[in-house]
């Protein structure tokens, strides 16, 4: 099993979720994060001073999937999250040794 950890633009979350559902992947966990990268930040102002906001709002979507479907999931996520502009984000693939369902207490088949 793999953990597919995608960092995307906030307004792309719904698209990604739908894309995953189309692959009948129901389970996912979403986290509000802030990201720094090539994308330029903004200049903000507070009373006397100007400062730069370099951490931009992003959303992290974590999905654990069987090895078999990893590639199509990655494709789906990237297609749904892409705008073509700098700041689209990343997809990271991490190995997962086991996955358990708390309700049933069972280890899930890979």
């Amino acid at each position: 099993m793999k953990l597919i950890k995608s960092i995307v633009r906030p307004h792309k979350v719904d698209d990604v979720r739908e894309a995953l559902e189309r692959l009948s992947i129901a389970g996912m966990t979403v986290t509000d994060v802030r990201g720094h990268g090539r994308q330029k930040g903004h200049t903000a102002v507070y009373r006397g001073k100007e400062y730069s906001v370099s951490l931009l709002p992003k959303v992290e979507i974590e999905v654990v999937v069987p090895d078999a479907v990893v590639d199509e999931v990655i494709e789906a996520v990237m297609a749904a999250a892409r705008t073509g502009e700098i700041g689209d984000g990343r997809v990271f693939v991490l190995p997962v040794e086991h996955s358990y369902n708390i309700r049933t207490g069972e280890r899930e088949a890979t």
Binding site: R9, H11, D14, A44, V45
Partner: protein
């Protein structure tokens, strides 16, 4: 109608109503006595003016809570900035355009820069206070428009637009109805601004929403309020301030002010009750946004009627007014018209219904001025319709022209990128909230 007239009229009523009114000012008003300051009227109008001024920040919270957090400050600034620009312009030239004698269509420039506006009595209160009170109406009317165009308009363009709008649309229309203009002469009933304020602003808002176009994501379920408590705060403060708006329109601490106050308390109560049932009927879920909206709709609807109808009529009016506005909102979301915060449904429909029902429920026995259809004067309804139509048409057309002219000089909308980023950061260089925990 000319409020100065109301003021004196209400006093005739007071007497007519067969009880002794003791403040000499009032006795005075009956005879040919010179105009005089009445301190009790002054006390109330000081408060009423402060209350109406508070409505604009209140509107900022009401609107601000309904947008996404990345546009919260821009939305609130759209109200606050009106306090500055429209406020100053009102003193400079808006007041004279609206309330100097002038002609049927607009006042003259005799009071420009407040020339001749001093401590002398206007009615029974200091003239400057009367001027300031009327100014608070201009400020909030302009700000009301913003609800239709949030989350996408360039700020500088917005400021330019409402500044011109206040002078070229609000002032003339106020003159028509309250400045002794043609609608006043025709006998249109608009106690506190159902037509002058709400229909007027809604027409401008509708046009602005169309000219500006919809938000990128509209209609998408993700366009949701970021803070309903902020909206409830706005609704609470709006109701509070609205007592100054409606009861203050009696221009004195008179029995008619009492009447306007009471109808302003009970009409929204009835709307809130009706709206709760409508919500429950539709989805079994009475919403808090619905409650806040209902309060505003009820206040809008009772505005033209406040000093003319009985409290029980106000309850009927409030309950009835809930339905068309509620339906209007359900229809709007099915269209591509991105009147983002439903200015048309709340102020346009609500104001129209209120103005019409004023022509139905008005009771001369109470207001000493005019009867509505229910009391045997159906003609009043015709006058009301004329006023609504005239104001809506004028405001719509001029708003359209203004926006088109501006758009020749500079784009009205922000860039798509700024819209995605959020206007707070892109236009104001700020974030509304920062919880570093």
């Amino acid at each position: 109608m000319n409020r100065a007239r109301i003021a004196s009229v209400t006093k005739t009523v007071a007497a007519a109503a067969l009880f002794v009114v003791t403040a000499p000012a009032i006795a005075g008003a009956q005879t040919a006595a010179p105009p005089a300051i009445n301190q009790a009227d002054t006390a109330w109008m000081l408060v009423a003016t402060a209350l109406v001024l508070l409505m604009t920040p209140a509107l900022a919270f009401f609107y601000g809570g309904l947008v996404r957090s990345k546009n919260a400050l821009n939305t609130m600034m759209m109200s606050f900035v009106s306090l500055g620009f429209v406020g100053v312009l009102w003193a400079v030239v808006g007041y004279t355009l609206a309330f100097s004698t002038g002609g049927a269509w607009v006042g003259d420039l005799s009071k420009v820069f407040l020339r001749g506006v001093g401590l002398e009595p206007q009615g029974t209160i200091p003239h400057i206070l009367f001027m300031a009170y009327q100014g608070t109406f201009a400020i909030i009317t302009a700000a009301l428009i913003s609800g239709a165009i949030v989350e996408r308009m360039r700020f500088s363009v917005y400021v330019t637009f409402i500044s011109l709008w206040a002078l070229l649309v609000y002032s003339p229309v106020a003159h028509w109805v309250w400045g002794g203009g043609w609608l006043a002469k025709m006998g249109a009933l608009d106690f506190a601004g159902g037509t002058v304020v709400h229909v007027n602003a809604a027409a401008g808002a509708l046009v602005a929403a169309i000219v500006l176009g919809k938000r990128q994501e509209y209609p998408s379920p993700s366009l949701l309020p970021h803070s309903v408590p902020l909206t409830l705060l706005g609704a609470g403060l709006l109701w509070f301030g609205w007592f100054g708006f409606n009861a203050g329109s009696a221009l004195g601490a008179t029995p008619i002010a009492g009447l306007a106050f009471v109808t302003t308390m009970f009409a929204p109560a009835a709307t809130l009750m009706a709206w709760t049932f409508l919500d429950a009927l539709r989805s079994r879920k009475p919403t808090a946004v619905g409650a806040a909206t209902a309060i505003v709709v009820g206040l809008v609807a009772v505005t033209p009627a406040a000093g003319f109808i009985s409290p029980m009529s106000a309850i009927a009016l409030g309950a009835i007014a809930a339905v068309p506005s509620y339906l209007a909102m359900m229809v709007r979301v099915k269209t591509t018209l991105d009147d983002s915060l439903d200015v048309v449904a709340a102020h346009g429909v609500g104001g129209t219904v209120g103005a019409l029902l004023t022509g139905v429920f008005a009771d001369k026995a109470l207001n000493g001025l005019a009867d509505g259809a229910l009391f045997g004067n159906p003609k009043q309804l015709v006058i009301q319709v004329t006023a609504i139509a005239a104001v809506a048409a004028y405001s719509g057309v001029v708003s359209f022209i203004l926006l088109k002219i501006i758009s020749l000089v500079t784009p009205l909308r922000t860039t798509a990128e700024d819209e995605t980023t959020g206007l707070d950061l892109s236009l104001h260089g700020e974030e509304a909230y920062l919880h570093e925990g």
